[in-house]
Structures are given as structure tokens and as C-alpha cells.
């Protein structure tokens, strides 16, 4: 065996041993709070704050973070007292970051989190419970995992039901089409829950409009470029049969508009979803008929606030009714009629929210089908 290979193996063996030792030390630390607190929730006077989310490359997550920071400042701390745990779309990283944060702060934590995918919510909640911390989640969790099964530690879960709002945008679209013609749907990543719900909303509305045909529905993966290319292909396939476009989010609508612009087609009825500033402007300009705002700023702030107030003992989650622990977030339909007013209220200046008013803006308890 060459010396190089021998050296290499030796080096790898040593580093693996170091790694195992370090892991053992890490696990002991992580288990410590569990030893003393036995997994029971303890009130902390000054819990460490963190938001665990996907990335900073989208307007949506930036609004979530701005809400979290607004809450942090509202309790007299600087913005950077809230730690960003960025999972980059990896559930493993999401869980590992949260475990590291719990270990560092001996469990005295208030964490807000989107678990990245549904199955990851349970291990996150288990890790937080074992360390005696507090977590509030949004978007992703499986139907069989409930905050009330984790004592006080899994404070709450908020999600948004997209079916109803997507149905409303579809109705606005169909009215603009004069109740007849052909519609195409450009969807999100096919397996994503919001993508499924938004298409279902469209299908629900179709039942009341027998003269409108759903020509095609295909995923554009929430992506502007892909949407432009898909729309161009739809134009080849269906041509003038397309008299309306239902988009699963704003980014897709931008791509659709550009594909139509390339062909010199103007005035096509289009609806979108998400209520991003650019889309709201387009609604005001008459390029889009409607979009739906889910108020991510409020969602980002209130989720962290719930975890924080549970941690300092302002309320005891296990004494709250189920609809206070699993609930739908607010949705606001933005149309040409109210876009200017909406923009002034929510986008030009950020409203000041009462971060201790947890439930009144929400949309009721989560209903499982």
C-alpha cells in the first residue's frame, strides 16, 4: 500500500474518532436539560429567540423575518436578538440547527419554525420538548401530529387554507371571462400542499360555470421562467381557446404576463396568489384581476410571540382550547376595487400589530378532511 493511502486512512480514522467523541459530548449536553427538567416545561424569564425558515431569497420569507424582528423589538430587544436558523430547504438541517440552538441555551428558548416538510414537525417538537423549550410552527406538519400531544412545549401550529381563496379568485376570473371560454392553470410544485389546494379551489369554482372548460393544468414549480415557457407551450397547443389564466402564485403570473407580452397579447384575464408588492401594483394597473395576501409579516411576528409568551408564562398552552393551538392564518383578497387601499394599509407602511393579540386575526381552528 502506498504511503499516501496509508496516511490517508490513518488521518481519516483519527478524525472519525474525534468526531465520535465530539458527538458523544454534544449529545450529553443536549440531554442535560432533560435530566434536570425531565422534559417538563419551565417558565424562563428571558428565553432566547429564533426563527427557523427556508431562505432569504424570496419576498415571502423576508416578510416573515421582518415580522419576527418587529416582535423582538416590541419587547425591548434589538432586532438581532432573534437568531435566524436558515434550513435551505433541508429538513435535516432544520432539525440539527434547532437542536444546536436548544443545547446552546440549555432549553431556555422560544422558537418559531416552518419545519420544511410535514414529517419533520414531529422530531422538531420532540427535540424541543426534551430540552424543555417552546416552539410554534407554521405550514408543515402531518395531520396526526398535534401540539396538545406535546404538553406546553409545542405551543401552536398555524397554516393557511388556500382552497377557499383560490376558489374566490377563480370566480373573479370566470366573471371577467363572461362566464364562458377556456382556462389554463399553472400550478406550484405538484406535491406541495398549497399547490394542491389552489388547484382544488379552481375546480370547486368550475362546478358553477358549466360553459368554462379547464383546458390544462400543469406545474410551473412556483417559478417565473418555467411559467413563461409553459404558457408559451399552452399557446401553441390551445391558441385562441385560452380566454383566462389561473396562476398558483404571483411569480407564476409574472411569467405568464411576459409570455403573453412576447406574443403581443394584452388584456387576458389573469388571477394570482400571495399578494406580493409587485403583484398588488399589477392589480392596480389592471394587469392582474386579483391576488391573495396571507400577511406573512403578521404570521412571522405572532408565531414567535406565541412561543415567547408561552415560555415566559403569560399563558399556559395546555389550558387553551384546541382552536387556539391549531388555527388558520388570515387571508385577504386583493382586487382592483380595494388594491390601492390595501397597498396603503399593508405595503406602504407596515401596520403596528398588538403582538399579544394572538387569535383574533386568525381564521378559526384547523379542520381535517
Amino acid at each position: 500500500m502506498s504511503t499516501f493511502i496509508k496516511d490517508f486512512i490513518e488521518r481519516e480514522t483519527i478524525s472519525r474518532r474525534n468526531f465520535l467523541l465530539a458527538s458523544a459530548a454534544g449529545m450529553t449536553t443536549a440531554a442535560m436539560p432533560g435530566v434536570f427538567g425531565n422534559g417538563m416545561a419551565r417558565a424562563a424569564t428571558d428565553p432566547a429567540l429564533a426563527w427557523s425558515y427556508r431562505d432569504r431569497a424570496s419576498a415571502y420569507w423576508n416578510a416573515i423575518v421582518s415580522g419576527g424582528e418587529a416582535f423582538t423589538e416590541s419587547i425591548g430587544k434589538p432586532k438581532d436578538a432573534m437568531t435566524s436558523l436558515i434550513n435551505e430547504g433541508s429538513s435535516e438541517k432544520s432539525l440539527a440547527d434547532i437542536k444546536a440552538f436548544l443545547a446552546k441555551n440549555n432549553g431556555a428558548c422560544a422558537i418559531a419554525c416552518d419545519a420544511n416538510d410535514s414529517p419533520n414537525a414531529r422530531p422538531v417538537a420532540e427535540a424541543v420538548q426534551a430540552a424543555g423549550g417552546y416552539v410554534s410552527t407554521i405550514w408543515n406538519k402531518t395531520d396526526d401530529a398535534h401540539p396538545w400531544d406535546f404538553g406546553d412545549n409545542w405551543v401552536s401550529h398555524m397554516t393557511w387554507s388556500d382552497e377557499k381563496p383560490a376558489e374566490e379568485t377563480a370566480r373573479i376570473l370566470f366573471e371577467a371571462m363572461g362566464g364562458k371560454g377556456g382556462v389554463v392553470h399553472l400550478g406550484g410544485i405538484a406535491a406541495n400542499n398549497p399547490a394542491i389546494e389552489r388547484l382544488n379551489g379552481l375546480k370547486n369554482a368550475l362546478k358553477d360555470y358549466p360553459d368554462i372548460t379547464l383546458l390544462d393544468a400543469q406545474p410551473a414549480d412556483w417559478d417565473t421562467t418555467k411559467a413563461a415557457e409553459l404558457m408559451a407551450s399552452f399557446l401553441t397547443k390551445y391558441g385562441d381557446q385560452i380566454t383566462g389564466v389561473h396562476c398558483a402564485n404571483d411569480n407564476i403570473a409574472y411569467g405568464v404576463l411576459e409570455a403573453l407580452k412576447a406574443e403581443g397579447i394584452e388584456g387576458m384575464p389573469i388571477v394570482a396568489y400571495d399578494g406580493n408588492p409587485e403583484a398588488v401594483q399589477m392589480v392596480m394597473d389592471g394587469k392582474l384581476l386579483a391576488t391573495v395576501f396571507t400577511n406573512p409579516h403578521w404570521g412571522g411576528g405572532i408565531t414567535l410571540s406565541l412561543a415567547y409568551h408561552a415560555a415566559i408564562g403569560s399563558f399556559k398552552p395546555s389550558e387553551e382550547p384546541h382552536e387556539h393551538r391549531e388555527f388558520y392564518g388570515p387571508t385577504i383578497l386583493v382586487t382592483a376595487k380595494d388594491a390601492a387601499e390595501f397597498k396603503a394599509k399593508y405595503l406602504d407602511s407596515v401596520p403596528t400589530y398588538d403582538w399579544a393579540d394572538f387569535w383574533s386575526p386568525s381564521n378559526g381552528g384547523i379542520v381535517y378532511k
Binding site: 431562505d55 432569504r56 431569497a57 424570496s58 419576498a59 420569507w61 423576508n62 405538484a190 390544462d216 400543469q218 406545474p219 417559478d223 417565473t224 421562467t225 418555467k226 413563461a228 415557457e229 409553459l230 408559451a232 407551450s233 399552452f234 399557446l235 401553441t236 397547443k237 391558441g239 409574472y254 411569467g255 411576459e258 407580452k261 412576447a262 406574443e263 403581443g264 406580493n276 409587485e278
Partner: protein
């Protein structure tokens, strides 16, 4: 080697039987395979839905293919050298975002002096390529890792500059690249055609272009012959960076906006196209025209699958399958002893 698609019939001499046999060699079959695959696909899609074979649809495919072709040509220079460049997503994203910022800062319309943004961004692309090349050559990091890392830095910088927001450009003069049509094709298609001819010229008629093949065909030999291999490598990355910047600008022209993820998916599309077109990943084989055909194959497949109404859950699988078929047909695998 440098001109893979020689004209089939040279001169006006009548074809004799031995000449026909000469043309029907294995080498020729492989050289022309990508083009035959492309023609086969067009016939297939047209047979299923005649709407596919229309000038308007070809214009749509051309628009979709334009930025992707610029990226693919950039990476072709690198792959011909036997290296790989994975920085395209970050570079395209960053140049697209910076282009919008410079464009808006210098007046917001081409007429008002915002044309300055174009040379500035080409220079930025060259600089990113230079850093990429220097990191790869001077620090002796494999091009795979060095370029991937630079790509991440590019995406990160774009996120930092935009704060995750979208930057829009509404100048009608600039958007004429998409909206102004000559013979049914938007202006950007002609820009891409001109850039492609330029790339072919660099490849076939300059010392640098031939040196790429020398390095890709046998680096030790090239080095022993007195070629400054490291310099050629760095120049290759600079050239690729410029083409990525062109793609960034065209991406803005196509969508009227830039964001940090404007370069998303270009890595898969460009590398796939280059390989499908018959450029060998081990270097020295293929060139610009292979890449052009490869990009067209991938875009024709993407468009055609929707036009013939293939269910969306089959589309990804079908794309993968067709890519394998195209590579099997278009690369001379007998000439290499092993594949890694």
C-alpha cells in the same frame, strides 16, 4: 475536430458508390446523430400535434432557448478543456440583478444612457470568470468544486443586493429584444445568433480556441509543447463568464425582471444540452454547433411534451429517458476505454 459539422457533400462531383460508403462511416454517423435526433423529435411531435410545426411555436422555443444557449456555449469552452464549470446559476443571477440596478441607476431607459449597463455587466461577467479561473488554477482546487463555490457566492451576493426582492425593468426600448420581431422572431434571437457565430469564430479561428482543444485532448502533451495551460484555463473561465453575463441580460429582457434566483435551473439545462449535443465531458471532442443542437433538443422536448399533451407526471421521466437516448446516439463511446 474543431468543426464537427462539415458539409456533407463537397463540390459538385457525382456521388460514386465508394464515396457514399466513405460518407457512411461510423464517425460521420456519430457526428450527425444529434441533428438527426433533433429532426426526429420535430417529426415525432408534429405527427402527434401538427400545431407544433408552426413558425410561431418555433419562435416560442427560440425565446425559451436563448438565455440557455448563451449559458451552454459558455460552459462548452470549459467542457472542451476537460474541466467543468458549475458557477452559471450564481453568475447569471448576480449579473441579471446587477444589470437591473446599473440600468435603473443610469437612467432607466436605453435612450437615456442606460446602455452603459450592458458593457459594465459583460465586464462583471468576465471578472467573475476571472476569479473563478484564478481560484481553480492558482489554489489548485478542482474546477468542479471551485466553480460550484463561486456560484454559491454569486447567489449569496445577489440575495444580499436585492434583499430577496424582485427588480423590474419597464423600458420599452430594452424590452424590444423580446417584443420587436423580424421575420417572426424576436430581436433577442438574432442577438443570440450573432453571439453564437462569435463563439464559433473564437473556437475555430483563434489560437485561444484551438488551445482549448489542445488542453482538453491531452493536457500533459499541450504543456510539454510549451503551451501555458494555466493561462488558457483562466482565459476559458473569463470567456464563459462573459457568455453567462449575456445570458443574465437576456434573462432580464425575456422576463422584465431579475431576482436572486433568476439563474435557477440553468445548471441542469446547460450541462444536459452540451452532453446531449455530443460534446464529451472528458474534453477535446465536440464544439459550439453540438451545443446549439443540444440546447434545441432539450427545448424542443420541453415544449413538445406540453404540446402533445403528455401528462405532467410523465414529463420529467420522459426528459431523462430522451436525454439518455440522445447521449447514447451522439457520443462515440467506443473510443474511450472507461467512463468515470
Amino acid at each position: 475536430m474543431a468543426t464537427p459539422f462539415l458539409p456533407l457533400i463537397q463540390g459538385g462531383a457525382p456521388l460514386r458508390e465508394d464515396r457514399v460508403r466513405q460518407l457512411m462511416t461510423r464517425e460521420n454517423a456519430i457526428r450527425w446523430a444529434p441533428l438527426l435526433v433533433l429532426i426526429g423529435l420535430i417529426i415525432l411531435f408534429t405527427a402527434i400535434n401538427p400545431a407544433f410545426l408552426s413558425q410561431r411555436n418555433f419562435a416560442r422555443i427560440a425565446i425559451a432557448a436563448s438565455p440557455a444557449l448563451m449559458v451552454a456555449i459558455g460552459v462548452t469552452f470549459i467542457i472542451v478543456m476537460g474541466s467543468i464549470d458549475l458557477s452559471m446559476e450564481g453568475t447569471v443571477g448576480l449579473t441579471a440583478v446587477l444589470f437591473c440596478f446599473v440600468f435603473l441607476a443610469t437612467g432607466g431607459t436605453l435612450a437615456a444612457g442606460a446602455w452603459v449597463a450592458i458593457p459594465v455587466i459583460l465586464l462583471v461577467g468576465a471578472l467573475i470568470g476571472l476569479v473563478n479561473g484564478l481560484v481553480h488554477v492558482k489554489l489548485r482546487i478542482p474546477s468542479f468544486m471551485a466553480s460550484l463555490a463561486i456560484g454559491f457566492v454569486g447567489t449569496g451576493a445577489a440575495v444580499l443586493i436585492t434583499g430577496g426582492d424582485i427588480v423590474k425593468i419597464d423600458d420599452d426600448t430594452f424590452r424590444a429584444l423580446l417584443t420587436w420581431r423580424i421575420a417572426g422572431f424576436p430581436l433577442m434571437v438574432y442577438v443570440v445568433a450573432a453571439m453564437t457565430v462569435l463563439a464559433w469564430f473564437i473556437q475555430s479561428h483563434t489560437t485561444l480556441g484551438r488551445n482549448f482543444y489542445a488542453v482538453g485532448g491531452g493536457e500533459e502533451l499541450a504543456h510539454a509543447s510549451g503551451l501555458n495551460v494555466r493561462r488558457v484555463r483562466i482565459m476559458g473561465f473569463v470567456l464563459a463568464g462573459v457568455f453567462y453575463a449575456v445570458a443574465g441580460i437576456l434573462q432580464v429582457a425575456k422576463l422584465g425582471q431579475a431576482e436572486s434566483v433568476s439563474g435557477a435551473n440553468f445548471m441542469f439545462i446547460s450541462i444536459t444540452s452540451v452532453v446531449v449535443g455530443g460534446v464529451a465531458l472528458w474534453g477535446g471532442i465536440g464544439g459550439i454547433w453540438n451545443t446549439v443542437v443540444g440546447v434545441l433538443i432539450v427545448n424542443v422536448i420541453n415544449n413538445g411534451m406540453v404540446v402533445i399533451g403528455l401528462p405532467n407526471y410523465l414529463q420529467d421521466g420522459m426528459l431523462g429517458l430522451l436525454v439518455i437516448v440522445a447521449v447514447v446516439l451522439s457520443t462515440d463511446r467506443r473510443s474511450i476505454s472507461f467512463v468515470k
